[in-house]
């Protein structure tokens, strides 16, 4: 990105692109060129642990799936020799005339998502990296554990290629370390170290793994459970210590460290993994300058707590680790959140540059199957192994095949033209292409079919490249036989293919948001700003939720102000209808077409809408421990905040003790509540502002001031707040003796119990989800064992349910601070807006269909469907199952479990599959 001129809604972005030297349009991704490229280079994607070619792609799933040439290494570019690749590419995609280019893009908005950067080698070298071969970074280790990595998942020492027995992980490398300029916590390393260690143990249960850490910051959803599993199931050891040094002794590595009691230890390992932190991306300062945005002192993008996706420049948004170190789910969440922000800005011109494709009317096909088989050479990818002519010849002998042909590249433009011509010429009503994989190319051929008026379900693809010629290169005869068998099976199936309807189900372009805390408010506002009518319902009599009880944020912002601002925006927006004192009574329908009954003081109201966002939130845990409720000196953090802001604290406050994890992490709730560490640090600092001489003790288990919060933690330490670590097994004890409160806790360093008599004991209580029972039943959506709503995929679909059209955000998903709740609310709104913006739900023709004549109404399918996509309906007073096409994903579990075989799957009917099996038998 070279520059961004103009203003929000009307930018000109100047983008510089490097030359790939391969035309992406022509490249079929076959990979022949890379096999012939003679230049071996270090494989950067595999962290230098493997070699690749100068002409390569970084990894198989790369998008676009085209190759490129590394100009630094290419013999032709540097020495004008070689050019072997040019002659191997039959698609003629290699183009050395390509040059670097500048493009001026007219865009309304910009999203910055450059990710994060590597920790400097110099910093890593302080821990032996580069000096000792068996000291690896965590990214290198990740590649070693990967099944498609350089060792195919076998963990070996780089020094002697032998499997290690003892592995140490060192945490906070390049994080929480002022000496390398990274004072912040990288947030994700504790969890990924646990994951890598667990994966390694799954490979080799005899491995001995120790993780050296300062605080185990596994604050994410279900992360503590993983940590527990790592310790209990896999026997991974956790040692709280920042190591003193690492030295090679013989062929092993000796780590010296001091434990919590001050005792020195030396331990030997075969391999040491450095859990390297997440740094700001390389070139962040240039990017910031070119885009005209602010970055913080660590060179990450500057954002505010209430606008976590907004850069300092209007119309430019940020997503992912560039806004601060974060894990995959938060990054994915922010990505859709940023999209929602963009849509709020640009929804007036949504779709204005889209051209809609028109297809000819669908032909009515005769009963008699007339099959055309097209066998592809794929240059030499198929033809060099498989006897294509023989396969075509064989295909032409099969029953119902009226035409068989072969082509150099079946996917090329001219081949599509020929395909169309042959369909018309031979009056074909089923088409089979034997070529590469349907996963990439089926849509292309189906498109060609539609252009001729044939239904796309009349197409079948046979994979004779990826799963045949490429993998049986040394056995041409067998490969040819296999290709013939596969085509025979496809022909058998094709005879039974039927045209399937292209269903488009209209969507009611309105949203329902359940819960009026800051998450629900943000989500509702975002929906409306994206142009959709939105109903926001709140159980209590006013909006704002928990944030109303918070008087300041750690970073200084005023929550009261933001609640007021958002509330004003909500009430002044014509598209939003707010119902307070209201609850969901019942919901029926499916994505695009929900009907909901809302009960309130006004009685029951019925609303219709296309999507639902759940933002029912959580509330503070109510403690019974530590004399809470009996001693007036014991308060929760929120009560303390209230006292601080209202000036109700006593005049000469001298000593305050705070206890972390009250209720959380196995106390009463099994999970970490994520916000309490930051909250304690915030309130400690606020007390010190008022009473600079107060003694404050924070008794903690792991201080989880992740990300940039770490700065405030350090500040509190510098200001004299005393942090004392406690074990869950040796938790502090509070006693109230005749109105005199005392707190006793164990100090590991001193190896003795200490008793204090504080003026105030503050409990950092956890977060409890609001009652989810009735709503999860009404919507038939799952919850976790901790009663938070369960997302469709914890990493990749963090705000969606497996059921289409329902989304979640905020504390209902898991405990989180307000900036993350807001990002998630925008994300849910971004996802929810998709079907509304499209206006229809397009149904893939693979969905299931119940034959009501055969169905006996047993309901097994209804209970097995993971997507709530089958319902029971009454027909002639009999119960029958019926597919809700808009929700169906085509998995087929209904069909395979139907007692009467009454359910057919589009393109995968029982009869079609059985005919394939019979044809396989010969």
């Amino acid at each position: 990105m070279e520059s961004v001129q103009g203003e929000a809604g009307n930018f000109t972005a100047r983008v510089h692109t490097a030359a790939r030297y391969i035309n992406e349009e022509l490249c079929t991704g076959c990979g022949t060129c890379t096999m012939y490229c003679p230049v071996m280079i270090v494989d950067i994607f595999n962290e230098g642990l493997a070699l690749t070619k100068s002409l390569h792609k970084d990894y198989p799933q790369a998008v676009p799936s085209s190759f490129y040439i590394d100009p630094k290494e290419c013999l032709f570019i540097n020495h004008e020799m070689c050019r072997i690749c040019v002659s191997t590419c039959q698609a003629q995609a290699i183009d050395f005339s390509q040059t670097e280019e500048d493009h001026n893009l007219s865009v309304g908005s910009v999203i910055l998502a450059p990710g994060f950067g590597h920790i400097d080698d110099e910093v890593l070298s302080r821990h032996g990296f580069g000096k000792y071969p068996d000291v690896l970074t965590s990214l290198e280790f990740e590649r070693l554990t990967c099944a498609s990595g350089p060792t195919e998942g076998t963990i070996v020492r780089p020094s002697d290629q032998r499997p290690p027995k003892h592995i140490a992980f060192l945490q906070c490398i390049g994080s929480r370390d002022e000496t390398c300029g990274n004072g912040y916590c990288s947030s994700v390393c504790c969890m990924y170290a646990i994951k890598e260690a667990s994966v390694a143990k799954e490979h080799d249960p005899d491995l001995d793994i120790t993780i050296f850490y300062m605080d185990m910051r596994t604050q994410g959803k279900e992360f503590d459970a993983s940590r527990q599993r790592a310790r209990e199931k896999y026997g991974i050891k956790f040692v709280r210590s920042r190591i003193a040094g690492i030295q090679e002794q013989g062929d092993r590595l000796r780590i010296s460290y001091v434990d919590g009691r001050g005792v020195h230890h030396g331990k030997y390992f075969d391999m040491v993994v450095l859990s390297e932190g997440l740094e700001s991306p390389e070139g962040a300062d240039d990017l910031a300058r070119n885009c005209g945005i602010d970055i913080n002192k660590y060179e990450f993008c500057s954002t505010q707590a209430f606008t976590p996706l907004q850069t300092s420049r209007q119309g430019i948004f940020v997503a992912g680790a560039f806004g601060g170190p974060k894990d995959i789910p938060e990054s994915v969440t922010e990505a859709t959140g940023a999209v929602a922000s963009v849509d709020s800005l640009l929804n007036k011109v949504r779709g204005s540059q889209v051209e809609k494709k028109e297809y000819p009317a669908e032909l009515v096909i005769g009963d008699e199957p007339r099959i055309g088989v097209f066998v592809c050479h794929c240059g030499s990818n198929i033809a060099s192994v498989i006897d294509v002519a023989a396969v075509r010849e064989y295909a032409s002998t099969l029953e119902s095949v009226v035409y068989a042909d072969q082509s150099l590249y079946a996917c090329s433009q001219d081949a599509q033209y020929i395909l169309k011509e042959k369909i018309e010429e031979h009056n074909l009503n089923r088409v089979i292409v034997a070529a590469c994989t349907p996963r990439t190319h089926e849509p292309l051929f189906q498109e060609t079919l539609r252009d001729t008026g044939l239904n796309r379900a009349l197409f079948e693809m046979v994979n004779i490249r990826d799963q045949c010629s490429w993998v049986h290169a040394g056995e041409p005869e067998e490969a040819t036989e296999k290709a013939k068998d596969l085509i025979r099976m496809a022909v058998a199936k094709s005879c039974l293919l039927e045209p399937l309807p292209e269903q488009q189900i209209p969507v009611i372009p309105k949203a329902l948001v359940i819960g009026g805390g800051i998450s629900g408010m943000t989500a509702a506002l975002s929906m409306a700003e994206q142009g959709f009518e939105t109903f926001l319902i709140e159980k209590s009599d006013k909006l704002g939720g928990n944030l109303r009880n918070v008087s300041a944020l750690l970073s200084g912002e005023d929550p009261g102000k933001i609640v007021k601002e958002v509330e004003e925006k909500l009430t002044s927006n014509d598209l939003i209808r707010v119902y307070t004192g209201a609850e969901v009574e019942s919901v029926s329908g499916y994505v695009g077409n929900f009907t909901t009954n809302i009960s309130s003081a006004l009685g029951t109201q019925v609303i219709e809408h296309g999507v639902i966002i759940i933002a029912t939130g959580g509330r503070p845990y109510e403690p019974k421990q530590y004399c809470y409720g009996t001693s007036r000196q014991v308060v929760t953090q929120l009560e303390l905040e209230d006292a601080i802001s209202s000036g109700a604290l006593e005049e000469d406050l001298q000593q305050v003790v705070m206890i972390q994890c009250v209720g959380s992490r196995g106390d009463d709730l099994s999970y970490c509540s994520k916000i309490c560490c930051g909250q304690a640090v915030k309130n400690a600092l606020r007390i010190l502002d008022k009473y600079p001489n107060a003694n404050i003790y924070i008794l903690y288990r792991d201080m989880r001031t992740y990300g940039f919060m770490e700065d405030y933690y350090k500040k509190a330490r510098k200001k004299g707040v005393v942090f004392v670590n406690y074990d869950k097994e040796k938790a502090p004890v509070a006693t109230d003796t005749d109105g005199k409160l005392s707190v006793t806790f164990f100090d590991e360093m001193l190896d003795e119990d200490i008793t204090l008599e504080p003026d105030l004991l503050v409990l950092s209580v956890g977060i409890v989800p609001n009652d989810v029972d009735s709503l999860s039943k009404i919507l038939k959506v799952p919850v976790t064992k901790d009663n938070f709503f369960l997302e469709a995929h914890v990493k990749l679909r963090p705000v969606e349910f497996s059921v289409d059209g329902i989304f979640m955000c905020g504390l209902a998903h898991s405990p989180k601070p307000v900036n993350e709740s807001i990002a998630q609310a925008k994300s849910a709104a971004g996802k929810a807006a998709l079907p509304l913006a499209k206006g229809v739900v397009s149904v893939e023709p693979i969905v299931s269909k119940v034959n009501p004549e055969i169905c006996i109404g047993c309901g097994i399918c209804v209970s097995l469907c993971p997507y709530q996509a089958i319902q029971m309906v009454k027909a002639d007073k009999k119960k029958k199952a019926e597919t809700i096409s808009a929700s169906c994903k085509g998995c087929g579990i209904c069909a395979s479990h139907c007692p009467k075989l009454a359910i057919s799957m589009g393109g995968f009917t029982t009869e079609q599959i059985r005919s394939q099996i019979r044809a396989f038998g010969g």
Partner: protein, 67 residues
């Protein structure tokens, strides 16, 4: 017999998982025995026990279901 036994194996593969893994094995040019003939499905959930028995009925020597 003399000749090596060349078994007939039928594979049922999930479009999103094993079928995709098989494709990526191809992209990487891994080599494996050419005995398997694959029937693609959208999900292993489609797998009906009937199909497996059907396969043995037509003389299949082995059935591999890949989810």
């Amino acid at each position: 017999m003399g000749q090596e036994f060349n078994p007939k194996i039928l594979g049922f593969m999930c479009h999103w998982c094993c079928y995709a893994a098989a494709d990526s094995a191809g992209v990487a040019r891994y080599q494996y025995p050419p005995n398997v003939r694959t029937i693609r499905m959208m999900c292993t959930g489609r797998m009906d026990p009937l199909f497996i028995i059907d396969a043995f009925c037509v003389g299949t020597d082995g059935v591999f279901v890949g989810g």
